[in-house]
């Protein structure tokens, strides 16, 4: 979308919440009222029933209230600076979640699909290494904190 002053504007919406979210509504909203949008990319992250070779019966996400929204907004701003985006939507849950439940949603809208795809993946990669969330899994052997993955740092660093 181009603003009345000729500069590109990007709608950015960030939410950090315990409740589930409506994926279809978020994707529809990303393009709503802007017929310049040609593509909306999105990613939903879900709780898996296994991790590190063990069964996972539940996952608890801890976060840093106050910093979390700021960190997500910084990441979204960076995406909007790098790609011609019309809208970015990030929703991240915290608290205790069961396998199959949604954890995170990232939505990007752009005139062109390459920008939407790249920005969506960039957001997920940066979010995994630059947003203050920590996952604890419940397994048959007890609770354990999920370790950060070296591959996530590599994925974040390529952008």
């Amino acid at each position: 979308m181009t603003g009345s002053d000729g500069t590109a504007t990007c709608r950015i919406d960030i939410a950090v919440q315990t409740e589930d979210f409506d994926v279809g509504a978020a994707i529809t909203a990303a393009a709503a009222g802007d017929h310049g949008v040609g593509g909306v990319a999105s990613f939903v992250g879900l709780v898996r029933d296994q991790g590190g070779g063990e069964a996972v019966s539940a996952m608890t996400l801890e976060h840093y209230p106050g910093m979390t929204e700021k960190a997500l907004r910084t990441i979204a701003d960076e995406a909007a600076r790098r790609w011609p985006l019309d809208a970015v939507r990030i929703i991240h849950r915290f608290g205790r979640l069961l396998p199959g439940e949604r954890i995170v949603l990232v939505v990007t809208a752009s005139a062109h699909r390459d920008a939407a795809f790249d920005a969506c993946r960039f957001l997920m990669d940066w979010l995994k290494t630059k947003a203050p969330f920590w996952k604890q899994e419940e397994t048959p052997d007890g609770e354990r904190w999920v370790a950060a993955k070296a591959e996530d740092d590599i994925a974040a660093d390529r952008w």
Partner: protein
């Protein structure tokens, strides 16, 4: 100075947050952690190895050599694992 601990650092220190007044010579995050180590065995154990510990100062990612002062909010936590 407000300190926050997350994930296993919260569990090992037994605290989610605390307000401390370290001596004036504590001017960086590294010096703060060194000072915390002397406060008791829980702290000493939690901060025995700094490699898996990350830092935020005033809600922005920082480093162990980042300067800190009395009014700051300093968070210590393991590498993040969201998404």
């Amino acid at each position: 100075m407000k300190l926050l601990y997350f994930a296993w650092l919260r569990q090992r220190t037994g605290l989610a947050e605390e307000t401390v007044s370290p001596p004036a010579e504590v001017r960086t995050v590294a010096e703060l952690v060194e000072w915390l180590r002397g406060r008791g065995p829980g702290y000493a154990e939690a901060f025995a190895d700094l490699r898996p510990i990350r830092v935020a100062v005033n809600q922005e990612f920082a480093r162990f050599d980042t300067a800190i002062g009395p009014g700051d909010e300093i968070a210590l936590f393991p590498p993040v694992t969201g998404g």
